[in-house]
């Protein structure tokens, strides 16, 4: 509110109630207005790319599943596609459809989750609880199909590990009907509520030009009028069969894209409907047959051990394009995996979105790209005898015991 020309620094993060994961923003603030943004990553590095070099092809799938709890289909999917591309493995048709169904159910639950988080960021807790309430249905459905709420362990190289049994079709259809019924009501709450519009319209604008230059992906790009969607541009699995699939855009409901937070919300709402319809399509057109090329892990690893080459696997995760680049070098496991999560691409766009925004807009803008910091951060190093960085398990345990003692001592004194 002050009219002073001088600015002051404001750090938000690494831990802050607005962020579900650690990231640090350093803002230069003039009154309530942000004039400069800088960010710092790396607080959740787990060295996954490094660890992946030590494991065999099958172990890596489950390691990559743990890059992110929300896109736990997307990362293994991109990895499997990359390895299949490199080794020339053909996936059976039924497996392609099962992969698509699981992927779209994941997109549905991820978008519902995002809606809840965004609502909480703007202080609308009722909407947050409502969307998380209806999200339970798809989570139950995923648990039924795969055995887990997250980390489904469903994919493997050359297919899927579990089939969708005929008795599950009815339950899946029921779930789809549940969301079809709820769609209009949810859309009304999200897109027609006045306070939501007041907080999201013309906030955090990313123009078309910036979206292209900064390589934005996923709903963030689509809200800026850049119709980029790997499912359509470079389709895999069952997506090539779906003729009507188009990138979601605010134009679908008669609004010109402005690239603001509200447009990102529109795109995600439309994509929820899209996901439901895609799952419906896959159920109607499900081919019969095998679900995996080679179900024996040892045999598969031996087969992959003979391959020398590299492959790029791309998949549209709920948040945008996931790309894995795998190098196979006649080993038991991949020689190198490079992982790109959607947040990695979209984070660069943050700086543009924040400029000119108010402090009150920080949480919703940060949330608007649906950030998954853990996805973007994947690397750090633990090496013996390397400065202050290395700790063995015993040392860490000792340190934590000491800290607890210290806390107990100080609390007792006061």
């Amino acid at each position: 509110m002050s009219k002073s020309t001088s600015t002051f620094p404001l750090s938000i993060g690494p831990t802050h109630p607005a962020f579900k994961e650690p990231v640090k923003f350093s803002f230069e603030v003039d009154g309530e207005k942000i004039v400069r943004t800088d960010m710092d990553f790396g607080y959740t590095h787990r060295g996954i790319e490094h660890v992946a070099r030590e494991r065999n092809f099958i172990q890596v799938i489950y390691l990559l599943e743990r890059i992110c709890g929300i896109c736990s289909v997307s990362h293994p999917m991109a990895y499997c596609l990359a390895v299949e591309n490199a080794a020339g493995i053909e996936v059976p048709p039924r497996a392609k459809y099962v992969r698509t169904i699981i992927g779209e159910l994941e997109r549905l639950h991820s978008h519902l989750l995002w809606t809840g988080v965004a609502a909480h960021e703007i202080g609308f807790d009722t909407l947050f609880l409502h969307t998380w309430d209806i999200r339970e249905k798809v989570m139950d459905c995923l648990e039924l199909l795969t055995g887990n709420r997250v980390n489904y362990a469903m994919l493997t190289i050359g297919g899927v590990r579990r089939d969708i049994a005929p008795e599950h079709y009815g339950i899946l259809e029921e779930t789809l009907d549940y969301y079809r019924e709820l769609y209009n009501r949810t859309r009304e709450i999200l897109l027609e509520d006045l306070t939501v519009q007041m907080r999201c319209r013309d906030i955090g604008v990313l123009t078309y030009e910036d979206a292209v230059a900064l390589c934005a992906v996923g709903p963030t790009a689509r809200a800026s009028g850049l119709p980029k969607d790997v499912r359509i541009d470079y389709p895999c699995n069952a997506y090539p069969d779906i003729e009507w699939l188009r990138p979601a855009s605010p134009r679908d409901i008669g609004k010109e894209p402005r690239g603001d937070v509200f447009d990102r919300m529109i795109v995600r709402v439309l994509e929820m409907k899209q996901s439901v319809e895609i799952v419906g399509f896959c159920l109607d057109n499900m081919p019969d047959g095998e679900i995996v090329v080679e179900s024996k892990a040892i045999k598969l690893i031996n087969q992959l051990k003979k391959v020398k080459g590299d492959g790029l696997g791309r998949y549209e995760a709920p948040r945008g394009e996931v790309a894995h680049f795998d190098i196979l070098d006649e080993r038991e496991g991949p020689a190198q995996i490079k992982v790109k999560a959607p947040t990695y691409s979209n984070a660069a766009a943050w700086a543009v979105m924040f400029n000119g925004a108010e402090i009150a807009d920080i949480p919703i803008i940060a949330a608007s790209i649906d950030p998954c910091i853990a996805c973007a951060d994947r690397m750090t190093v633990i090496k013996n005898g390397c400065g202050g960085l290395s700790f063995t398990a015993e040392e860490l345990h000792r340190l934590s015991v000491e800290k607890q003692k210290r806390i107990k001592a100080t609390c007792g004194n006061s």
């Binding site: 990553f41 790396g42 590095h45 060295g47 490094h50 660890v51 030590e54 591309n85 020339g88 053909e90 048709p93 392609k96 459809y97 292209v212 230059a213 900064l214 390589c215 934005a216 992906v217 790009a221 850049l226 980029k228 969607d229 359509i232 541009d233 470079y234 389709p235 895999c236 069952a238 997506y239 090539p240 069969d241 081919p287 590299d310 790029l312 791309r314 790309a323 894995h324 680049f325 190098i327 020689a335 190198q336 490079k338 992982v339 790109k340 990695y344 691409s345 994947r378 690397m379 750090t380 190093v381 633990i382 090496k383 013996n384 390397c386 400065g387 202050g388 960085l389 063995t392 398990a393």
Partner: protein, 171 residues
């Protein structure tokens, strides 16, 4: 009329001639009921011509960087693999991954930045810098990206030298 990827290959060949060290189009059939080929274009350049190649690519459309640069190590050089894509957002199967490999000699680990053509690549170049120790010339932001500040500067974790370095570290 030739398909887009073939035109692209022709153009690259006539522009770069011998400097285009390797060129390959890969096909992979995808889809069940309407099968079509997923195509990708693989080009290899020496690091001298890399910036020119990306500039040339940007004439056909804004290149999008898909993935951070992977690396393949040899005795005398490190291959840096840049997975670009172009023609994104134009429809079914129109997008074309153009994977450009740049050969960087071991005794002089430098490559020119392409942030002037693809601004979105900045984070990935920063990552390459800290993980592989390849110096990116003229990079607008010289700070580290992911690794902690107290990492010894000579340590470049994604180099082959450090394969297995994490083993037993936590046990």
């Amino acid at each position: 009329m030739l398909p887009l990827h073939d035109i692209l290959v022709e153009q690259f060949k006539s522009e770069f001639g011998e400097d285009l060290l390797h060129c390959e189009i890969r096909n992979r059939p995808e889809g069940v009921k309407r099968p079509r080929d997923q195509r990708s274009l693989w080009l290899t350049f020496h690091r001298r011509h890399f910036h020119m190649a990306v500039t040339f690519l940007s004439r056909f459309g804004a290149p999008h960087i898909s993935c951070p640069m992977a690396s393949r190590e040899y005795e005398d050089r490190i291959d840096l693999i840049y997975p670009f894509t172009i023609y994104g957002g134009t429809g079914n199967y129109m997008e074309l991954p153009v994977i450009i490999t740049a050969q960087v000699p071991r005794d002089d680990l430098r490559i020119r930045t392409v942030t002037d053509i693809v601004p979105g690549i900045l984070f990935m170049e920063r990552e390459t810098r800290e993980m592989l120790g390849i110096d990116i010339e003229d990079i607008p932001d010289e700070r580290r990206l992911f690794t902690p500040g107290n990492l010894p500067p000579e340590m470049k974790p994604m180099l082959e030298t450090y394969r297995g370095a994490g083993r037993g570290g936590g046990r």
